[in-house]
Point group: C2
Chain length 275, copies 2
Amino acid sequence: MEKVYNSEEEFLKDYDSSIYEKLSMTVDILILSVSSEETGNYRKTDKKKMSILLVKRDDYPFKGKWCLPGGFVKIDEDLEDAPIRILKRETNLDNIYLEQLYTFGSVHRDPRMRIISSSYMALIDKNRLNENLNENACWFDIVSINEKDDIIDVILNNGYENINFSIKKVLKEKTTDRYKFVEVKNDKIAFDHTIVILSGLERLKNKIEYTDVVFNMMPELFTLGELQQVYEVILNKKLLDPAFRRIISNKVVKTNKLKTGEGHRPSYLFKYKHN
Amino acid sequence: MEKVYNSEEEFLKDYDSSIYEKLSMTVDILILSVSSEETGNYRKTDKKKMSILLVKRDDYPFKGKWCLPGGFVKIDEDLEDAPIRILKRETNLDNIYLEQLYTFGSVHRDPRMRIISSSYMALIDKNRLNENLNENACWFDIVSINEKDDIIDVILNNGYENINFSIKKVLKEKTTDRYKFVEVKNDKIAFDHTIVILSGLERLKNKIEYTDVVFNMMPELFTLGELQQVYEVILNKKLLDPAFRRIISNKVVKTNKLKTGEGHRPSYLFKYKHN
DNA sequence: CTAATAGTGTCTATTAGACAGTATGTT
DNA sequence: AACATACTGTCTAATAGACACTATTAG
């Protein structure tokens, strides 16, 4: 016969947590930033690209493949503290914008054992790039993202190595409009991290329209041209100057400082304006 | 000295998964629907309210309090299959729109042991309400949601019992625009489920604007008046008829059927149009 | 007839898109 | 001077908000 408890304290004292089969939890972080590539022409502005931080696995499983920085959630650690700790470990950066993306939990997503993983997105100011990176970590530029017929083709490059993968957008039945990503081609990225990468890029693309998250990727002072380039690289399309300036006009404040020495008319530096 | 593995198979055969401390994973489902309340006047249309399904806990912890339907994720079950199973158990419904909301993982969110929980939102057609409900489950109408000075006050009612809780929207520092919900007053709802409820309602409010998810809450055939009422109850504000009809005109198809017997001009029935 | 909702026409205000123009520092 | 970007003015197209009006049924 089952024991009857009269208070929560009494119940908890007796509680045996081993009756359920337990599992492991990890977090994976998609660390996004915008990098600049010299054009060679002293007049032209640098070409901007999105970049993501990947880590080369030097252990099984997926030995030799690239993956997102991540790690196990400690038993006495809040879920949301895990990505902060891992971000610090990999980039030595504190106080970074982090946002939970999605929690993946297929039974066989990790060949070792049952692992459920929460993915996070971190947005980093480009000027903090390449400082104190963990040695196994490496920035990859997103060379191109091409979508046609529901197949998304992505090419990454870190200066030495190309990574190319393809994902298909598959409509779910009972959702009227949502789709999920399914890997079509991928031989260099471990786990389900290609899906995480695309989910994060898509999330950022949406969020840039109705929030101010971009400013987490910007330095304290920036020109409107630079800000526009970041928008363009995230949205993956050209914007018209007057329209762009109209839209961001109430999110920024003009300073009296100028950015000069660029081979053309100098531009005013702006700051983010909290509302 | 560490053993060197030459293949993934070899590595996995030796792998001891017990080296990490494990934890339990649950899912909680916010089941949302729209209910109708008779007005007493044969001419007037029913008053619509959002409703959510809550379960009374008859065991510790939180014995006697209400919570969202939920349960443990089985060790051999995909994460996303768990909410499907639990939804079936509680409502006997299949093929329902389900969407992951957020994964909560504070160390002490469950007093028994370390549990991380993924919350899901399910959207149900009002005409399937109250059929084959699990006996411990009960629909609560959202009587009111009032927001002033970043405090959100919610009142629920199931016909017998009132539930009233308050949540504060607190800005996070390093996010430029995101806030999180913090409980201010709550003595009837278990765990962190008040937060899940508000997150879901907010998500739905946003998604109704840029997706077609509403139609998961509608029957096969509906009038534009009914559809508009569902929009209004989700957005918690009145809409102007012409504007509403313009916006949804490309999402619906008019049929030649009429809804009559309402004490006023009959209205055409419409169907959802996939695009 | 009346109460109540169904459904439409149209005016106005706001916002988005597009283009063309002027401005200015570096080499 | 010429190049490249900075920045603005303005026209047009599209969209959103508001109001007023007509239509149609059950009782």
